[in-house]
């Protein structure tokens, strides 16, 4: 990988110390900026992050007893993972039941697939999930989630004849509760909310009001670019985002857009999607993700 080679080269140049310390830091910061931009991290966020990193590197200087390389990487790692609230794996088990999760996100990001993946994940831990389809726009959205629910043998509710997602959400919530399920996962239609779609943000708000979710989960495609920040912010101001799932990390995209979404919403990343199949869901691991962003 190019990125890896670049970073390694810069670190070793820096260690050989041909240039004065300050210049070495400057070069390192430049190369780091490139790496982050190639990974789709938001431009403003990159500038902010690298400003902090530069300041720390200049102020603190490497302590004598640890390798300079480790120390330098550590600063970068600290700054990036501080965005996630530190180097800790997320707590993914609900604090109460029944627990209501509502999935939102842009068209095609992977909401419906992730809804089924999450249901399957919790089912394996002994919970009783229930899946709800409130997407009344996309043709066969109902059939898609219905077929997935059959594959994992989880109760499912929706109404292919209705065009009122708020009404469906209310009715299906009672259905799920009455069926003695305890994790209720609500899939919603894809939306971006710009221009003519503005009204869809309002609709999303209305669904949330109707079901009062314990957690609104933003589904982000790993390949999304600079728009991730603004999009996440728009979603967040309509319905406060509690958690994030990054999908399609089995591709070549680094997933820096998700980092932007974290910065915009202050939400935690809970899961990542690593394939199309239902079991291909993992609990988010900050260390591995930062490694991926840095190309390490």
């Amino acid at each position: 990988m190019n990125v890896l080679e670049n970073l390694k080269k810069i670190v070793s140049d820096f260690l050989r110390g041909k240039e004065p310390y300050e210049i070495a830091v400057e070069n390192f910061v430049k190369e780091l900026q490139k790496t982050l931009l190639r990974a789709d991290v938001n431009v403003k966020l990159v500038l902010e992050l690298t400003k902090n990193i530069r300041e720390r590197a200049l102020k603190e200087r490497p302590p004598p007893y640890i390798s300079k390389q480790e120390w330098f990487i550590k600063i970068v790692y600290d700054e990036l993972s501080s965005l996630f609230g530190g180097d800790i794996k997320p707590q993914v088990f609900p604090v109460k039941t029944p627990y209501i999760i509502m999935l939102v996100g842009v068209q095609g990001s992977g909401k419906t697939t992730t809804a089924a993946k999450i249901a399957y994940f919790y089912k394996r831990y002994g919970y009783r999930p229930c899946l709800i389809c409130t997407d009344t726009y996309r043709p066969a959205a109902y059939e898609q989630l219905y077929q997935l629910s059959k594959q994992i043998d989880v109760p499912f509710c929706g109404d292919p004849k209705s065009s009122d997602p708020i009404d469906i959400a209310k009715k299906c919530l009672s259905y799920c509760i009455n069926n003695n399920t305890n994790i209720i996962i609500i899939d919603t239609a894809g939306r971006h909310g710009y221009g003519e779609e503005e009204y869809l943000l309002k609709e999303m708000q209305d669904i949330a009001k109707a079901v009062n979710p314990d957690e609104v989960m933003l589904i982000i495609d790993a390949s999304i670019g600079q728009k991730a920040y603004d999009l996440a912010l728009r979603f967040h101001s309509a319905t406060p985002i509690g958690s994030i799932v990054i999908t399609k990390l089995d591709g070549t995209a680094k997933g820096g857009g998700a980092l932007s979404a974290v910065a915009a919403t202050k939400a935690i990343i809970k899961f990542i999607g690593t394939g199309e199949k239902i079991p291909e869901l993992e609990v988010f691991d900050p260390r591995r993700f930062v490694g991926r962003i840095l190309g390490l």
Partner: protein, 279 residues
């Protein structure tokens, strides 16, 4: 020195518009070189003068991506039915784009058949079938788990027998680095022998757009791109990546979820997005 500051700014702007980093860097280097060569006439507004040069460079580049129209192509083709295969990574908008293309063709008096060779993703068959019912266009599908190449072949046979003009073949979304799935796609291509191989790309994609296009092109050889979801306040950079990074054509762009939300590509559309005032 002023030029290099200007170039740094321009680089950031292009990256903020989702032009892939390496592509943006190359464009900015070229523009920088050009700016160093020219003399700016006295009495002109320097900023405006330079901006016009930049727009000019980008427009020429984006003009190279202008391609033939499907309707023209089908009208001229001596071979019928014309076979068009749509491919791309998961969720970019392949199936919806096929419905839009079918609608456009039907309106132009061309007779299309829609083929659902995605036999994998849940609901994929029903999704395309509903579109074709709404549009009143014949639909050929297959059972889940069936061989996509066989389904595609059925569609072609049906179209030939019934004298349709064009077969639009939908394939399952797949990652460009998934060897098994790329081999499956190669088999579909081998059986179908398409006239046009379309890569569908999501305009919200960042640096990965070029990666996706490169890998599909290496494996299959794409004839051009359809860029979707431009209505999602996209900045158009993905188009620049594909054109400048790979020299590919762009057929159409998707600007919404309705059937008529498909427009013919032109450099204007992308230039407008690249230079719109960001809020």
């Amino acid at each position: 020195k002023d030029i290099s500051r200007y170039c740094d700014n321009l680089l950031n702007e292009l990256i903020e518009s989702d032009v892939a980093y390496d592509v943006a860097e190359k464009i900015v280097t070229d523009i920088g070189n050009r700016l160093r060569e020219i003399k700016i006439p006295r009495g002109t507004n320097v900023e405006e003068y330079i901006n016009n040069i930049v727009i000019d460079v980008l427009r020429k580049l984006l003009d190279n991506a202008t391609s033939y129209d499907f309707i023209e192509y089908i009208a001229k083709s001596s071979e019928k039915p014309v076979k068009i295969v749509f491919m791309g990574i998961n969720g970019v908008g392949k199936t919806t784009t096929i419905a839009k293309v079918a609608y456009m063709l039907k309106k132009a008096g061309v007779k299309p058949v829609i083929v659902a060779a995605d036999t994998f993703r849940a609901g994929a068959q029903e999704q395309l079938k509903k579109h074709s019912e709404r549009l009143g266009i014949p639909f050929i599908g297959g059972k889940y788990g069936a061989d996509p190449a066989a389904v595609a072949f059925d569609g072609i046979v049906f179209a030939s027998k019934n004298r349709f003009d064009v077969v639009l073949i939908d394939t399952a979304g797949r990652m460009h680095i998934d060897v098994d799935l790329m081999n499956e796609l190669k088999k579909v291509i081998k059986v179908v022998k398409p006239h046009i191989k379309v890569l569908v790309l999501d305009a919200l994609t960042g640096n990965d757009a070029i990666e996706q296009a490169k890998k599909f092109d290496e494996a299959i050889g794409i004839d051009g791109v359809i860029l979707t979801k431009l209505d999602a306040d996209a900045s158009g950079g993905a188009a620049v990546s594909v054109v400048a990074g790979l020299g590919k054509k762009i057929f159409y762009v998707g600007v919404g979820q309705g059937y008529d939300d498909l427009i013919r590509y032109s450099s204007d559309i992308i230039i407008r997005l690249l230079f719109k005032q960001s809020k």
